[in-house]
């Protein structure tokens, strides 16, 4: 499609439960990026993909967070054993190339951990 589509818009989980977020990038874009927005405007980079390959995972908390981008499927970000501090808005972005091209963002998934 012409827009980055993220689902669900809002996800509520109890502490310790699993959360899974989805992202469909813009058609033709090879790169997908995930960011976490915790405080009002503080964006933290998590991970990026080039097609189905991990491109940069330097921002991922390795213990509980995992992500995949498989052919012909939306990309996913999964958090195991969620904690209160995982409450945030998770944004996905896609771009045609990994650098110098703008990243286009979806409207995010608001994750609330109770």
């Amino acid at each position: 499609g012409e827009e980055v589509a993220q689902t669900p818009k809002h996800l509520v989980r109890g502490e310790g439960q699993k959360a899974k977020l989805y992202c469909a990038p813009i058609k033709g874009h090879s790169y997908v990026f995930w960011y976490q927005q915790v405080l009002k405007n503080e964006f933290k980079f998590l991970i990026s993909f080039q097609n189905e390959n991990v491109f940069d995972e330097t921002g991922m908390p390795k213990e509980r967070f995992s992500a995949k981008c498989l052919p012909n499927s939306p990309c996913s970000l999964e958090i195991q054993a969620t904690k209160l501090e995982d409450s945030a808005v998770y944004f996905c972005a896609s771009s045609q190339s990994g650098v110098r091209q703008p990243q286009h963002f979806g409207d995010g998934t608001r994750l609330s951990i109770l």
Binding site: Q6, F55, T58, V99, Q103, F105
Partner: protein, 113 residues
């Protein structure tokens, strides 16, 4: 480590009152500086990319400029619909920062009619 600082944190203008937002940055090998607009409950919307000092881009009432240390977003004769949070982000080329954006804290712009 790449760093971005935006000022002011919040800016209130009257309709038609022109002003500028500032984005100061330190980056290892700038690949691009990006300006975005974010409305409440939405994702950042791309506005401009600047690649090298001296470059300028314009779109409607907005003009972005770039020096080696900072970027400005000039807003000419703003309207209430320009009210939003404006985000600046850099993409560096050093170390393991390939591709990721480092964002500033944003400037919340409110334009009163």
């Amino acid at each position: 480590e790449d760093q971005v600082t935006q000022s002011p944190e919040a800016l209130r203008l009257q309709e038609g009152e022109s002003s500028s937002l500032n984005c100061s940055y330190t980056v290892s090998g700038l690949r691009g500086l990006f300006w975005y607009r974010q409305d409440p409950g939405k994702g950042p919307e791309f506005l401009f990319t600047l690649y090298s000092a001296g470059e300028e881009k314009e779109k409607e009432r907005l003009k972005a400029t770039l020096t080696k240390k900072e970027s400005f977003l000039h807003i000419t004769a703003p309207k209430p619909e320009d009210s939003a949070t404006y985000l600046c982000a850099v993409q560096g080329g050093g170390g393991t920062s390939y591709g990721k954006l480092t964002f500033g804290q944003g400037t919340i712009l409110t334009v009163h009619p």
